[in-house]
Symmetry: C2
Subunit: 453 residues, 2 copies
């Protein structure tokens, strides 16, 4: 083979700004609403939860927001991340397609999540906050925030979805190694958690419930703020460093993408990869198909309703217009805990409604098979979340094998799966189940949506 595999950038080529896609969209996304008044929520309403700098970013109309120097200094520990050409996977598949993957697993926490955890911790520390609370599904986000909190001297308290807390003890240990405190969710520490436990003592939890708990704890303490790892505009924007780097690296490789594939839970990995390419597409400089891949057990894009709903289970957040399966729908405990969210980022939902991106759903067994094939060809064992995108890449590459098309496919391996090995163990032991979407539970949950506005 003897051909280049990695496309690297120097630290000096790291993006100096985050990209805000909103000003480039043909229509602005619908605003979040106050659940009582049904009026758009102003910045002040968010102040108990977030520092002002992040609230300003959330509603910003600027296309570019400069990355503060202290954030760049931490990014330097692992950024820019490599773009790799999956030559060995291509060869194993016998495809004429060229498959590239942006690898975010080189970060300290092993995923793309530190891209937003670091600025969130920085802005909170800069405004005098002492402690951050958050939820975590697979534990990727929790460990990222624990790392970022250690760097900026903040306390960090994490509510980890019970299913992941039990399946993935190493994630908890990593958060604790960085100095964080971790609770399984639902916990007995909050009203939201106690309410769920009263009704479902064996609840395996959900991101929606864990968010309620973390929000409740932050709202009750003036020195504490809440931190979210996906869904919100500012979070998606912080992740655009992924796509900005990938654009430069694909240019190094002399290629232009025909298809970009990413997994979606709350939407941050997909958006981070895709938004800079969407800018190029809207400007007519390239024309890639942009495809989101979600788990068949929690398919908010492909089976959810586009409407105003709460971001959490207890109904503590503003109302967000998004694709949702209902804020109190509890997805089956699939191994891709990071994709186990009842809703979808409102901004990404809006972009989907505008017809700028498409979406498909994949059952987890196909994804694990794809993950193992990838690991044995490329070496890297991907986290269960990006195996969804890898499965879709392989599907497309095999289609190219039929048609002979030399498509350029780009994806993001947003994290490694070294702390998800128990999930791979279950798969190899034949114990992974492809859950059917429980339509009755979804209908039930959708029947409890807040009255439409």
């Amino acid at each position: 083979m003897d051909q280049q595999v990695k496309y690297l950038l120097q630290e000096s080529e790291m993006p100096r700004s985050w990209y805000n896609v909103i000003p480039d969209l043909p229509a602005p996304p619908p605003p979040p609403l106050h659940p009582g008044t049904r009026e758009p929520v102003g910045p002040d309403a968010l102040a108990p939860l977030f520092p002002m700098a992040l609230i300003e970013q959330e509603v910003s109309a600027e296309r570019y927001i400069p990355i503060p120097e202290p954030v760049l200094d931490v990014y330097r520990l692992w950024r820019p991340t490599p773009l790799l050409r999956a030559r060995r996977l291509e060869q194993a598949l016998g495809t004429p397609a060229r498959i590239y993957y942006k690898y975010e697993g080189t970060s300290p926490a092993g995923s793309h999540k530190p891209n937003t955890a670091v600025p969130q911790a920085y802005y909170n520390a800069a405004e005098g906050v002492k402690k951050l609370t958050t939820e975590t599904g697979a534990g990727q986000w929790g460990s990222a925030l624990a790392f970022a909190s250690a760097v900026f001297g903040l306390e960090c308290e994490v509510w980890q979805v019970r299913a992941s807390y039990d399946q993935k003890p190493y994630r908890r240990l990593l958060m604790e190694a960085y100095g964080a405190k971790v609770h399984p969710s639902p916990s007995g520490l909050t009203n939201s958690g106690r309410a769920v436990l009263a009704e479902h003592p064996d609840s395996t939890g959900s991101l929606g419930i864990a968010i309620s708990e973390a929000v409740e704890m932050a709202a009750g303490d003036p020195a504490t703020r809440y931190s979210l790892g996906s869904v919100l505009n500012h979070v998606l924007m912080h992740q655009t460093v992924i796509g900005e780097e990938a654009i430069k690296q694909l240019a190094q490789a002399g290629d232009t993408p025909d298809l970009i594939v990413g997994c979606t839970g709350g939407g941050s990995n997909f958006s981070g990869l895709v938004f800079p390419f969407l800018r190029e597409k809207l400007a007519g400089r390239m024309n890639p198909v942009l495809r989101a891949v979600e788990p068949a057990a929690c398919p908010s894009f492909t089976r959810g309703v586009y409407t105003y709903d709460f971001g959490d289970t207890a109904g503590l957040t503003p109302l967000l217009k998004m694709h949702t399966l209902g804020h109190d729908f509890v997805p089956d405990p699939i191994h891709a805990g990071g994709l186990r969210y009842h809703g979808m980022s409102p901004l990404l939902s809006h972009i989907y409604e505008l017809g700028l991106i498409e979406a498909v759903a994949k059952p987890q067994s196909e994804c694990f098979a794809a993950g193992l094939q990838f690991a044995r060809a490329e070496g890297i064992l991907p986290a269960p979340e990006p195996t969804h995108a890898i499965a879709a890449c392989i599907e497309e590459a095999l289609r190219c094998k039929e048609t002979g098309e030399e498509k350029v496919i780009l994806t993001a391996v947003c994290g490694h799966g070294l702390l998800d090995l128990s999930a791979y163990g279950s798969y190899q032991a034949g114990q992974v189940v492809d859950f059917e979407l429980p339509m009755e539970a979804v209908r039930d949950a959708l029947s409890r949506l807040p009255a439409s506005v």
Copy 2:
């Protein structure tokens, strides 16, 4: 801070040859001896265990051996690895020293071990071998060989030291994800294993025992060969890509090392980092102090005897002149399973006897504390093995704080600790014990050395 942290090389700057230090030494190392005849073993005697290409490398007098293209093609998946300046750790310590670390945790298996696993699998496959057997301590080596075997289409069967097999289930799952078969050692599958179990049914195992089992299985099957992750000359030589890259990267940074520190178990990580610098030192081009750091519970350099001994417990290997605690000494089950070997590489032992390197021993609790301090400053959670080197770096950096010396310290973080989180969990729970070296057991084991020659 805003100063460069990472020093990267392009794929095109990857070393094209391995460096063999032997021709540059003032005296050649003593040869391995046949245990029966006490004559030097010829290449033929090794042929049942190793392919001819590796046997030739083991005894080569060439200073440089070209790296085959198919090996370079796999190295490209992660090499060159980054050299990082530990600015945040320096700041946390308040030291004027400049600390650099070569980070080998970016490899698929998460350590430096694939540097030799890949060529070993390649040469075996090229000579028609179908299966490789090996031992593994912490599991770093076993997962590296499992990965390399997957790449070159070989079967792989691993005997994992019982203490690690029980403490580190994720390492086994990673080997299995790459398609390998894993047994705890001592096992009932070999004469060597059965002999140990007959005497010590609860044996936690040792690298020496696991080597006996893997060697025995390979020797009994003409299509199977044995693969060793450290100790031998060719293994140490494959690791010199680490030091060769580090020389170029330190030059990029404009620095020359005053002190190079590495952890030693069998010696491969230390040698890989140090040998190219030793070449420079012997040629008078630089003059760094070269310091090996071993665990206080298994201190072959600082408490062992320099003599001919077996490389394994059952006495199946040739006699090797090395620093040894006795081939049937079973070290306490420290968490740094990769450093838990009764002997030391004969080549590195010889270099120590020549006075070209020095050695110190560290108790594991000091190492875990250093590992956590490193993780909270630099983000990367190091494996328990390199925390020994990090502890020695921190010690030296604090000495520089006293004296005001701006020493340039270089080390290798030879692997990440993400699959060692249970060990960090034990440490944070106050359950890590600093074992005293059991001198009576060592004296016993040394009393059973083969008669001196």
